[in-house]
Structure formats: structure tokens, C-alpha cells
């Protein structure tokens, strides 16, 4: 098929021209044929822009990004959704962020959905009293450490002050109560919700607990890892073996206490740059914790990230341990990789998902020796495509301006610079880079297609034109893609698969992709009589 594929330029034209002129003009700047010149300066792409009303997009809302993605994975906070029942119901256990309480008695509210279930009278006369009552009822039943409140669309209009309510109840109950104004209409996608979650978490939780627990050395936070399918369990295991002390993960398998204590770490590692870089930035300003970009998707990425972490701490024993772990694990992985790559080599993939996975998972396809034909994000910003070098040049539009920018300063008591100027020099000399992210496009082949905020129509057209062997997206796309005879790997929830992170996770992914692209089921699509008018001879033998 590959040879019959129209080239990237033609394909782009085909995609763009499906839309009315005005929209087509805009789409032309959101669909880019990749080009990676020496300079490394890839073409500019229009992103983080409103989806045209009527377009069937992958995107969700601010509430989903705030409650679902960032706050969902924390097990011991009672998350009350303030609004009509739906939003609480839809966000109930529908992501696969796992949590493993240390004991059978440990608090775990993740399997519960809490809502104020606003009714018409609340919309008319206000729901603040009901919210107070709901917080009280939750407290009386569960006596949790903390309760948080999430407002949904109508709340923003009826004038409930959820922050006032939180403040009131915090004083009354003597536990931490805080709220998120994450109405669904804010921003252009989940992205706004991530930012809002980051802000409130930083404001109300981070820094509350100064006690140093566990090892005083090699203390790190992992940001932007959500423990889908148990990813975090794999990473934790590797960290332990290397000797890193993981203080907090934002927010896979996390607890309220770990957030409160997270400022005692000495390094922040950002995995999903899009959803969490805000917290990293703020923690650096306020507490002096530097951050680096890491990626534990793929075996090579994991090895690279571990080395970078070790390098930062400039400790020979640590580096040796890390090398030993990498050597042991890579040996095992390579055996499997060879086995599976032999069955996947040369096959093609497309990735359209999230804010970092569309990038990170390309590493795994490389390890499977597969070719990525096209990719794009659902809610990313330009830096996630083109790299942080463009940060300065991004113009802030109305939608982004609506999201609060916290003003953060160094904390008079708690600020501690982790890296003095010599150390910084030494590291720089070794080519060590802080807060360094090149984005997706520079790492993709030229003449691949980069599509931001892909639509259902785009998806269909793209598959028709380029017939990939596997397509990565979300639940809303999955069965559209499979109806077309192409297996679809969900990269939000992994289709009940995973873990896919770190070394063993990589092998899990190899196995699942091999299964999908080589499954006999895709050959059953046509019945014999649909393939040939002539009945099979075999059948007529008496």
C-alpha cells in the first residue's frame, strides 16, 4: 500500500480541503508537513486554538483535565464535584490511573464518585449552601485528611463562591479543604484544567510538610506521570533499585501527604511536559528545585532518563548503580525487542493523543522498527511540538489569558538553591541541560504529517489515504478506526493493557503491538463471496 500513498503535501491538501474556506484556511496552519533542517528549527504550527463549533474533535474540557487527569489519581482526597450529576458520573473510574494503598485499611476514595447533584432550585437560588452541606456530610462519613471541590459549567454562572465555601469548611472542620474553578467552558481543551489544577495544588498543598522522610540523598519528584495501567509501579521499582528517593509523583499513585512534602526533594523530573510544567516552574522559583525533562516510555528513553538523573547528583556510586541496572534490564529487553521487531519491522503507525504520549510513544515504535507516518496532539501547545525554544514567541490569546497565572517568589525560609554556580558550570560542561525539551517535530521524519486537534473527519481521511498498520488514539476514535480494518491502540487507557513504562513496560508494549498488527482477525473482513464472484471450488466437491 505504502507506494500508493499520496505524498504528504497532497495528503495535507486533501485533509484541509474538506472544510469550508474559512475553516480550511485555519486548518492549513494546524496541519503541517514536517521538515527538520540542520538548524533544528521546524515549521511553525498553530495549536492550542479553539476547535471550530460543529467539528467532531478528540478534545474534552477543562474539568476533565483538572479533576480527571491531575487530581483523579490521588487516593486519599475526597473529590466533590459541584454541579449537576453528569460530570461526576462521567469522570468516575473511566481513566485507568491505578492506586495501591499500603494497607487494607489505608484510605482510598478513588472508587467513589462524590457530587452535589445540583438541581434546578440550586441553579436558580444558588448551590453554595448545598456545597457546604455536602462537605459536612463527606466529613461526617469519612473524616478524610482533605476535601477538594470542582466546579462544573453552570457554577461559574450562578455565582456560587466555591473558594469561600472551601475556606469556611476548612476552618469549621480543621482539615484542608480547597477548590478548583475548572468550569468546562474555560480554555480550549483539557489543557486549561491542568494549569488550574497545578495552581491550586501548588497554592494549597505543596510545602505544607517540611519533615524529611526516607533517604536524605537523591530525593526526586516525578511530575506528569499518572500511573495508567500501573506505569508508576514499574518506575518506582527501577528508582528503588537505582537508589533514588521518590518523594512525590504528580500524580500517579499519589497521596495528599506526598504533595505536601514534595518541596523537600532536590530534583523535579517532568515527564508529561504539557500537563505539569507549571508546577515545575513554580517549585523552582519558590523552593529552588531545578527540573529536567525525562521520559520513561521506551527502554532507551528510560536508560537515557536514569543516566541524566544520576548525572545531576554527580555521585559515582549512584551512577554505577544506574549503569548496572540499565545493563541488566537492557539485556533482557533486547532479546524481546529483537523477537518482536522481526514481526513488526517496516510496519507503520500514527499517533494522535494527549499532550506528550503522541511524542513519547514514537520511541517505542522506533524500537519495534516501525515507521511513524503522522502524529499530533489533542491539547498541546507549540513548545510541545516545536520545543521550548519557541516559548518566548508564543502569543497569549484570550482563552489562555483567562487562566490565572500565579505570581510566585522565592520562599524566604524554604528556598534553597540546589545547584550552586560551580555545579551548574560542571554540569553544563558535560552537556547537561535543565528544563530542556525539544518537542515532537524535531524527532520525527521529514514529510510526515503533523496534525493538531485532529477531527473525526481527518482521522477517516488520513487512514483512507495512508492505511497505517496501527493507529493510536482514544476511546472515541477506537472503533471508528477498527471498523476500517485497522487496529487502534488507546494511548489514554492502554485498552486494559500496560504497564508500558520503563523496561518491562516496553516489552509489554512490543507484545501488544505485535498482537495487534499481526492478528488474523483483520483478514476476516470480507466474506469469500465478497472477494470473488466465483464460489470457491473446494466447496462444491461432493
Amino acid at each position: 500500500m505504502i507506494e500508493q500513498r499520496p505524498d504528504a503535501q497532497t495528503a495535507k491538501q486533501e485533509l484541509v480541503s474538506m472544510y469550508p474556506a474559512k475553516l480550511a484556511k485555519k486548518r492549513a496552519t494546524q496541519v503541517v508537513v514536517n521538515d527538520v533542517p540542520e538548524s533544528g528549527i521546524v515549521p511553525e504550527i498553530l495549536v492550542n486554538s479553539r476547535t471550530a463549533p460543529g467539528i467532531i474533535s478528540q478534545r474534552g474540557c477543562t474539568y476533565a483535565g483538572c479533576k480527571g487527569v491531575i487530581m483523579g489519581p490521588t487516593r486519599d482526597i475526597v473529590n466533590i464535584v459541584h454541579g449537576p450529576i453528569g460530570c461526576s458520573f462521567y469522570a468516575w473510574l473511566t481513566r485507568r490511573n491505578m492506586t495501591l494503598p499500603p494497607t487494607p485499611q489505608s484510605e482510598n476514595f478513588m472508587m467513589y464518585a462524590f457530587s452535589t447533584d445540583l438541581k434546578e432550585e440550586n441553579i436558580v437560588f444558588g448551590g453554595e449552601k448545598k456545597l457546604d452541606a455536602a462537605i459536612q456530610e463527606a466529613y461526617d462519613l469519612f473524616h478524610p485528611k482533605a476535601i477538594s471541590v470542582f466546579s462544573t459549567c453552570p457554577v461559574g454562572l450562578i455565582g456560587d463562591d466555591i473558594h469561600a465555601s472551601a475556606k469556611r469548611m476548612k476552618e469549621k472542620l480543621g482539615i484542608n479543604v480547597f477548590a478548583f474553578s475548572c468550569e468546562g467552558y474555560k480554555g480550549v481543551s483539557q489543557s486549561a484544567g491542568h494549569h488550574i489544577a497545578n495552581n491550586q495544588l501548588f497554592k494549597h498543598v505543596v510545602g505544607l510538610d517540611d519533615e524529611i522522610r526516607g533517604s536524605r540523598k537523591f530525593r526526586v519528584n516525578l511530575l506528569g506521570e499518572y500511573n495508567i495501567g500501573g506505569d508508576a509501579f514499574e518506575i518506582d521499582e527501577i528508582f528503588k533499585r537505582c537508589g533514588f528517593e521518590l518523594v512525590a509523583t504528580f500524580s500517579g499513585n499519589s497521596t495528599y501527604g506526598s504533595f505536601a512534602n514534595s518541596h523537600t526533594a532536590d530534583l523535579n523530573m517532568v515527564m508529561c511536559h504539557r500537563s505539569i510544567n507549571y508546577v515545575a516552574e513554580m517549585m523552582e522559583k519558590k523552593y529552588g528545585i531545578p527540573w529536567i525533562k525525562v521520559n520513561f516510555v521506551s527502554a532507551s528513553g528510560t536508560a537515557k532518563s536514569l543516566r541524566k538523573m544520576a548525572a545531576y547528583f554527580e555521585d559515582q556510586d549512584l551512577m554505577d548503580r544506574v549503569e548496572a541496572v540499565i545493563e541488566e534490564e537492557m539485556a533482557k529487553v533486547e532479546v524481546q525487542r529483537r523477537k518482536y521487531a522481526a514481526r513488526t519491522r517496516g510496519k507503520t503507525a500514527m499517533l494522535f493523543v494527549g499532550g506528550s504520549r503522541a511524542h513519547h510513544y514514537q520511541e517505542l515504535f522506533k524500537e519495534l522498527e516501525m515507521k511513524v507516518l503522522a502524529a499530533g496532539y489533542e491539547f498541546a501547545h507549540r513548545d510541545d511540538y516545536e520545543g521550548r525554544r519557541v516559548l518566548g514567541t508564543i502569543k497569549i490569546d484570550a482563552d489562555s489569558r483567562n487562566i490565572e497565572e500565579l505570581h510566585v517568589e522565592a520562599d524566604p525560609e524554604k528556598f534553597r538553591a540546589r545547584v550552586d554556580s560551580e555545579a551548574e558550570a560542571r554540569l553544563a560542561a558535560r552537556g547537561f541541560k535543565f528544563k530542556d525539551y525539544n518537542g515532537m517535530m524535531p524527532e520525527m521524519d521529514p514529510n510526515t504529517l503533523i496534525i493538531d486537534d485532529i477531527s473525526a473527519r481527518d482521522t477517516e481521511k488520513l487512514i483512507e489515504m495512508w492505511k497505517p498498520d496501527v493507529f493510536c488514539a482514544g476511546i472515541k476514535e477506537k472503533f471508528v478506526v477498527q471498523k476500517m480494518g485497522v487496529p487502534c491502540k488507546q494511548l489514554h487507557n492502554y485498552d486494559v493493557g500496560g504497564p508500558y513504562n520503563a523496561f518491562r513496560g516496553a516489552v509489554n508494549f512490543y507484545r501488544d503491538i505485535d498482537r495487534m498488527v499481526n492478528s488474523p482477525v483483520w483478514k476476516l473482513t470480507l466474506a469469500p463471496w465478497q472477494e470473488s464472484a466465483e464460489p470457491a471450488l473446494e466447496a462444491s466437491v461432493a
Partner: protein, 456 residues
């Protein structure tokens, strides 16, 4: 160890403000499901992106099939200035990009709070030529803060009657069938039964062939299934309408009477022997047909199965949660089986339903407008032998080690509901088979080895 470890046993604390583990969701998803029961229809969610995304995701997880719907993608500005601009753009985009025959708009808590006048906006769109000739745009008000997903279904079906049915002068013999919120397989079965009765009919909505589409190598954007506009239109000329499920279809039935003087009968969902009998009797009262032998045979097979298996079902305790129309028919049928329904919870509030449930099960703990946290507390206080409800029941079922029959919406973790009906007599046979299997599997698992039985 238990999963829902914070759910207490013993005295049940009343809650006035906090809902925990809802046994319901909001109106728009019901409107979306109903609208997809019209052939060539694109449901449109007039609100924020998230609503549409959530509804599509939930329906997709339930059916493992594509679910197409569009949204007005409200933003901060829209919330302030209203959704007219977005809806106008949306309609223009939709017709040029997705070319539907019909767009069925439903509102959301946001657009309702804002107070958008959808009919007026739709009118404007037509005037501005954003709606091509011969294309239909209609709407239903489905504020998420009143009623539940079932109400949304009811409102959308009522709007179908209101906007899409017509009456001519010619009198006609056909029936209008208004099914409640049931599975595509059930819609198919209802049509089969009515055909067996020899009654000409139109039925809407009809999701048969919509959510259970074949794999063909192509994505058919508007699946083969669904009620055709011209058939829906003929609803206005129907001799009589038969609405299945009081909560989901009464509004539509009454609308049809009001608009086109079509007399209507509202019966329970035809689940189980008695309810299916009543459905057929209702049609017989109007058409006076002879019930065909084939249907009597199906009924006889169900009675045969029940009479032969009665000893395995008799006296076993059941807890059930779900939507009201299903609960009425199911609890009645469970009674017919000799089972004892102890706990009944539905999230949908309705005086009528409460009364009916009390009538069918005077002994049971009935909570209308309740949640699953409450049901779980009831189960802890009085254990049962079988739990019936949607997939969210699985955590209770595992914690309490109770056999679990998935029923209702949503079913996210099993397959079959879209293919095999539970309505009608054959559907009754399937239900009895499923319940028997659950009960026998549990006995075979738990019984002492020397008591393991070879035979039923």
C-alpha cells in the same frame, strides 16, 4: 480487604446534599442516544466540548462501536455572551463537513443556565441559509440539573413527535411504536414481535443497526439503522400509539395525542411474561388480531423453562438498581420466577415509579432517587444472593462476593447486550438462562465437593 472500604455497615446516615456513587447520569446522554435512533441524524450538544466528549465516550464504551456527535464548543466568551454564534457556526460546519439528514440539538446545563433560545437560533440558521434545503434541524431541552439520562431520552423522543411527525387527512391502520430506552437488540426484537402480530407500524427511535454495526472495512458515518424521517412523519397518521415504559415514553405518547389526536397506550417495558402479555393485549385491544401460534410457542417455552427451573430460583434474594422502567418490569419478572427482590434503587425520582414499585414489591427496601452507596449499605445490612445492575455494581458484587447480573446502562465490561434481547418471551428465556447460570456457577463453586451435582 475490600475495594469500597469506606462504605459502612449498620445504621444508614441520611444525606441531603451529597450523592455518592450515582445510580443515574444527566439528560443529554439520553437525548444523544435517542437521536442516534433516527437514520442519518447527527446529535448536537449545545454546550461545552466536555459534555459531548463524555457522552460519546460512555456510549462508545457501552457499545464498542463508533458514536458520532458534534458540539457547540462553548468557551469563556460564550458563557458570557450566549451560545448563538457558536450554534450558527456549528450548523454551517456540520452540514458542509458531515452532511447529515437531520441535526438533533440538545441543550446542556450550561446553555440552559445561560438561557439560549435554541428554536430561535435554529430558525435564524435556516434564514441565513446555514441549513441546506431538505435538511432538518430540531431540538430538545435537556437541562442536566433536572431529571436524569432517562428524562433526556424522554424529552428527545417527545421532540421527535413534536417536530418530525405529520398528520395527513387520510386515516391509516398502522401503529406507532415508541420504545423506551432499550438496547438495539431489544428494538429489533420489539419489531419482530409486532411483525409477528401482523400489525403494520412505524417505530421511533430505533437504534437497531446503529450501535451494532457490522465490520466492513469502512466507517459508515451514518449507519444503516435508525428510523427513517418519512416513517417518523407517518407517526402522526397512526391509528394508535404504543409507548413502552412510562418514564421514557409517556411524554411522547401524550404529545402525539395532543398534536395529531393519535390515541395512545403506555405499557411497561415488555420484559418478562406478564409485561409482554400486557403489551400484546394492549395491541390486541386496538387491532383485535389472533396472536400467532409462533408467539404462543415462544411464550410457552418461557413458561416451560420457568416451571422446570422454579426450584433453583425460588426464594433467592435479589438487590437491583437501574432505570425505573426496567426496574418495574424486571422486579415483576423476578417475582414470577419466585425470587425475592429485597433492595431496589433508582436514581431517577418519580412518584409514579415509587408507587408502582411498592405495588409490585411491597416488602422490598425501595429508594427512588437514591444512589449506589445507599444500595451497598442496604446489601451490607441484609445480604442477597444476586445483584442486578450496570457495570458500576461490580465493586459491590466483588466486595460482598455476590453473583452479579449486568443489566441496564452502562455495561462497560461485558459484551452481548447489543446483540441479544431481554425483551419479549425469548428475551425472558435469555434472562432466566443468565440468572440460572449465575446461581448454578456459584453453587458449583462453593458447594462441598461431595455435594457437587452432575444434573439440574
Amino acid at each position: 480487604m475490600t475495594i469500597l472500604r469506606h462504605t459502612p455497615k449498620g445504621e444508614i446516615q441520611e444525606r441531603s446534599a451529597l450523592v455518592i456513587n450515582p445510580a443515574k447520569t444527566c439528560q443529554p446522554i439520553g437525548a444523544m442516544y435517542a437521536a442516534l435512533g433516527i437514520h442519518g441524524c447527527l446529535p448536537h450538544s449545545h454546550g461545552s466540548q466536555g459534555c459531548c466528549s463524555y457522552h460519546r465516550s460512555t456510549l462508545t464504551r457501552h457499545y464498542k462501536d463508533p458514536v458520532m456527535a458534534s458540539t457547540s464548543s462553548f468557551t469563556e466568551g460564550t458563557a458570557v455572551f450566549g451560545g448563538q454564534a457558536n450554534l450558527l457556526t456549528a450548523l454551517q460546519t456540520i452540514f458542509s463537513v458531515y452532511d447529515p439528514k437531520v441535526v438533533a440539538i440538545h441543550t446542556t446545563c450550561l446553555s440552559e443556565t445561560i438561557g439560549d433560545d435554541v428554536p430561535q437560533i435554529a430558525k435564524k440558521a435556516k434564514e441565513e441559509g446555514k441549513v441546506p434545503e431538505g435538511k432538518v434541524v430540531f431540538h430538545a431541552n435537556t437541562p442536566s440539573y433536572t431529571g436524569t439520562h432517562v428524562t433526556g431520552y424522554a424529552n428527545m423522543v417527545q421532540s421527535m413527535v413534536k417536530y418530525l411527525t405529520q398528520s395527513t387527512d387520510e386515516t391509516s391502520e398502522h401503529a406507532a411504536i415508541l420504545p423506551g430506552w432499550v438496547e438495539p437488540s431489544d428494538m429489533r426484537e420489539i419489531k419482530r414481535i409486532v411483525s409477528l402480530l401482523g400489525v403494520e407500524y412505524v417505530m421511533f427511535p430505533d437504534t437497531d443497526g446503529v450501535f451494532d454495526a457490522p465490520m466492513t472495512g469502512k466507517h459508515v458515518f451514518y449507519p444503516k439503522g435508525g428510523a427513517k424521517l418519512e416513517d417518523i412523519a407517518r407517526g402522526g397518521d397512526a391509528k394508535h400509539s404504543f409507548a413502552l415504559g412510562h418514564v421514557a415514553t409517556t411524554a411522547a405518547s401524550e404529545e402525539l395525542t395532543k398534536l395529531h389526536k393519535v390515541p395512545g397506550t403506555v405499557v411497561d417495558l415488555p420484559i418478562g411474561i406478564a409485561a409482554t402479555d400486557r403489551f400484546i393485549e394492549a395491541m390486541r385491544a386496538v387491532y383485535g388480531f389472533e396472536v400467532p401460534e409462533s408467539l404462543n410457542d415462544e411464550r410457552g417455552k418461557l413458561v416451560d423453562l420457568l416451571s422446570d427451573m422454579e426450584q433453583y430460583l425460588w426464594g433467592r434474594k435479589v438487590a437491583i438498581f437501574g432505570d425505573p422502567d426496567q426496574l418495574i418490569a424486571l422486579t415483576e419478572f423476578l417475582g414470577t420466577m419466585g425470587m425475592v427482590v429485597r433492595h431496589i434503587v433508582t436514581g431517577t425520582e418519580s412518584k409514579y415509579i415509587e408507587a408502582r414499585l411498592k405495588e409490585v414489591n411491597p416488602e422490598a427496601n425501595i429508594k427512588v432517587g437514591g444512589d449506589m452507596f445507599h444500595l451497598h449499605q442496604l446489601m451490607k445490612n441484609e445480604p442477597v444472593d444476586l445483584l442486578i445492575g450496570n457495570t458500576y455494581g461490580k465493586y459491590m458484587a466483588r466486595d460482598e462476593d455476590v453473583p452479579f447480573l449486568r443489566s441496564g446502562f452502562p455495561i462497560l465490561d461485558r459484551q452481548g447486550h447489543q446483540h441479544f434481547p431481554t425483551v419479549g418471551y425469548m428475551g425472558g428465556i435469555r434472562l432466566v438462562e443468565q440468572i440460572l447460570t449465575l446461581i448454578m456457577d456459584r453453587i458449583d463453586r462453593d458447594v462441598e465437593e461431595h455435594k457437587l451435582e452432575l444434573q439440574m
